[in-house]
């Protein structure tokens, strides 16, 4: 017997309650921080005694906040581009390759997701220090790329595995070179996976904090690092305003992704 919502009778209200509670649990911190960013209390009092946009004014008046935002954006875009540039050929090798150790290589590319980030951070810190790259743009990008690469590899491997290689063969027998076939047939067919990989890569970089703290210097900070250091000095509602902006940015990226996905799937 199949359990459907209609057959459950009153029992379904229990389901509604559980679903509601789970949603609330996930949403509450987000809503909470958004409320606080508009509250007039200096001490993040809840419920706020009054409403104000003061903290946003302070935020946008401070060039250091904007600078760190810009760093985050640049790093994120670079990571996104490199993650696809490296992830795409890697995915082709994993899916199409016929060589010993293929499965091991696949697991290896995924491993940054499993290795504790703090261990990666310490190892990377030692290396970056030795190379004298700490605080550099390159260090941020390299560090984030390690975490982002598994996402693009997973996304592209999945869509490439779902793509029938006969279609590419058909393009070749039609007269296309292998490169033409990949560019005009295979890549468009797996573009949803590439897009997902790109967005995940950007988001991984955008809110990465552990590695970034190790890579950062007082001069160059990404937004999450700037938040972290500010937070350590004093608990200002500006943090709430920044957090709200971060959340809005993330939601915007997800909406764009959903929109593109729908257009592609059409």
């Amino acid at each position: 017997m199949i359990l459907t919502l209609n057959r459950m009778g009153r029992g379904r209200f229990v389901l509604y309650a559980i679903a509601g509670a789970t949603s609330a649990f996930l949403l509450l911190p987000v809503v909470f921080i958004a409320f606080l960013s508009f509250g007039s209390s200096q001490w993040l009092q809840f419920p706020p005694p009054g409403w104000t946009l003061k903290w946003y004014e302070v935020l946008f008046a401070d060039p250091r906040w904007l600078a760190s935002m810009l760093v985050s954006l640049k790093v994120g875009l670079c990571v996104m581009a490199l993650s696809i540039a490296l992830g795409l050929p890697a995915a082709f090798a994993i899916v199409r390759g016929r060589f010993p150790g293929r499965a091991a290589l696949h697991a290896f590319f995924i491993s940054p997701m499993i290795v504790p980030v703090i261990i990666l951070a310490i190892a990377l810190y030692a290396l970056i220090l030795k190379l004298g790259l700490n605080g550099s743009f390159l260090a941020f990008v390299a560090a984030h790329l390690i975490l982002a690469l598994p996402f693009s590899v997973i996304c592209i491997v999945n869509s490439l595995e779902g793509f029938d290689i006969s279609v590419e063969k058909a393009a070749i027998i039609c007269g296309a070179t292998r490169l033409q076939a990949i560019r005009r047939v295979t890549l468009p067919a797996i573009r949803l996976g590439i897009l997902s990989g790109a967005l995940f890569s950007f988001l991984v970089s955008w809110d990465e904090v552990v590695l970034s703290i190790f890579m950062a210097s007082p001069g160059t900070q990404t937004l999450p690092v700037k938040m972290w250091t500010t937070l350590r000095q004093d608990l200002t509602p500006v943090i709430a305003a920044v957090s709200t902006l971060l959340i809005v940015m993330t939601i915007a990226v997800m909406l764009v992704a959903a929109f593109l996905r729908r257009r592609i799937a059409r």
């Binding site: 063969k169 027998i173 039609c174 007269g175 070179t177």
Partner: protein, 368 residues
């Protein structure tokens, strides 16, 4: 075929090994210009491997493939000027039907007006003109394969390869598209190499059929060659239905073999093979060549009969099929015009057949 006809494709001593497995084992054949040749065989018989070597997707271990007298083994698949329709749906999912058909011309850098004209012509040919703007995902399986056919023909390839293109379609649709492929073959005169495991499809469509078994060609010939004069027991049982009566060879004289069945019945049949006295052999008789009669047919020298009891009757519309239990413990199948005979379940009858309709083969090593 006359000797003047030039061959489009020549395959000589083709061998393909995958590790320990020999997928194609010394295959040689030639395809005449404009011929419709079918590779018929079960899966793993080497038919698809041979086709993929012709296409250029696989390299042979040894042997040669020539198109119009020139070896193509060093030519990459995209430069062989071959069209191909695959078993699976291989339309480009991101392109409309029109763009799919235009693709081969577009990668060849043909001018747009020429492309438009050729695409329109092909859409007409497969009768899908009104679907030009659709995406492949909006088409049925049969429509997708017709578009694939148009795409494979739009650049007027020297040779068209078809790898079980209709395997995924249901029977009715399959027959419609078989007709359509036949018509297109007639209209364009393109040389076709067609792969199928469906013997009915092979018989219906082909000029000639190459029957593949274990990487070798068991026989190559027209449909009636294979059906009336199978070269061996494998072809006899693979092409069409057949009764294979097991027995022991008693003697051969002038192509006429006498075989003794388990119960002592002696039957006669034609044989081309080198048969050894006393060995196990099989007599092949087609179900429709067995004619029921009430009495023994022993008077005429060319007519012989077997006796049995009807244990099953199946009405098939145009024919009735009987399953007959014989005295030598082997059931045989008889198929007759449904109006002609009216045998009932449990009835005992004689089934006569002409000696020329009985063929004697050595027993196959792995009889299935």
């Amino acid at each position: 075929m006359t000797s003047l006809t030039k061959n489009a494709v020549e395959i000589h001593h083709l061998v393909k090994r995958f590790g320990q497995v020999t997928a194609v084992d010394d295959v040689s054949l030639s395809v005449a210009d404009g011929e419709f040749l079918t590779f018929l065989g079960s899966s793993g018989s080497g038919k698809t491997s041979t086709l993929f070597i012709v296409a250029g997707f696989e390299d042979p271990t040894s042997g040669s493939v020539e198109i119009d007298g020139r070896s193509v083994l060093s030519v990459p698949p995209n430069e062989r000027n071959i069209g191909m329709v695959f078993q699976r749906y291989t339309l480009f999912p991101n392109m409309s039907v029109r763009d799919n058909i235009a693709f081969p011309l577009s990668v060849r850098g043909r001018p747009q007006n020429e492309i438009d004209r050729a695409v329109a012509e092909m859409l007409d040919m497969v009768r899908l003109g009104s679907y030009a703007g659709r995406r492949p995902s909006e088409l049925s399986g049969g429509q997708q394969q017709r578009v694939a056919l148009a795409r494979a023909l739009v650049y007027r390839p020297r040779l068209l390869l078809m790898d079980e293109p209709l395997a995924a379609l249901d029977k009715r649709l399959r027959e419609d598209i078989q007709q359509e492929i036949r018509r297109i073959h007639r209209e364009l005169g393109v040389t076709i190499l067609y792969v199928t495991h469906d013997q009915e499809e092979a018989l219906r469509m082909s000029d000639r059929i190459a029957v593949f078994s274990h990487g070798k060609i068991a026989q190559i010939g027209s449909g009636s060659d294979l059906y009336e004069r199978p070269a061996n027991g494998f072809v006899a049982s693979f092409v069409g239905n057949s009764n294979m009566l097991r027995g022991r060879l008693r003697g051969v004289s002038e192509r006429m073999a006498s075989v003794e069945l388990a119960d002592g019945t002696v039957l006669h049949g034609l044989s081309d093979a080198n048969l050894i006295h006393g060995t196990q052999v099989e007599i092949m008789v087609r179900p429709e060549r067995l004619i029921p009669s009430s009495s023994r047919a022993g008077d005429l020298t060319s007519l012989q009969s077997v006796e049995g009891t009807v244990i099953d009757v199946s009405y098939l519309g145009e024919a009735v099929q009987y399953e007959i239990a014989t005295r030598w413990q082997q059931n045989i199948v008889v198929r007759n015009d449904s109006r002609a005979s009216g045998l009932e379940l449990g009835a005992s009858a004689h089934f006569s057949f002409h000696v020329h309709d009985a063929l004697v083969f050595p027993t196959q090593p792995s009889a299935s």
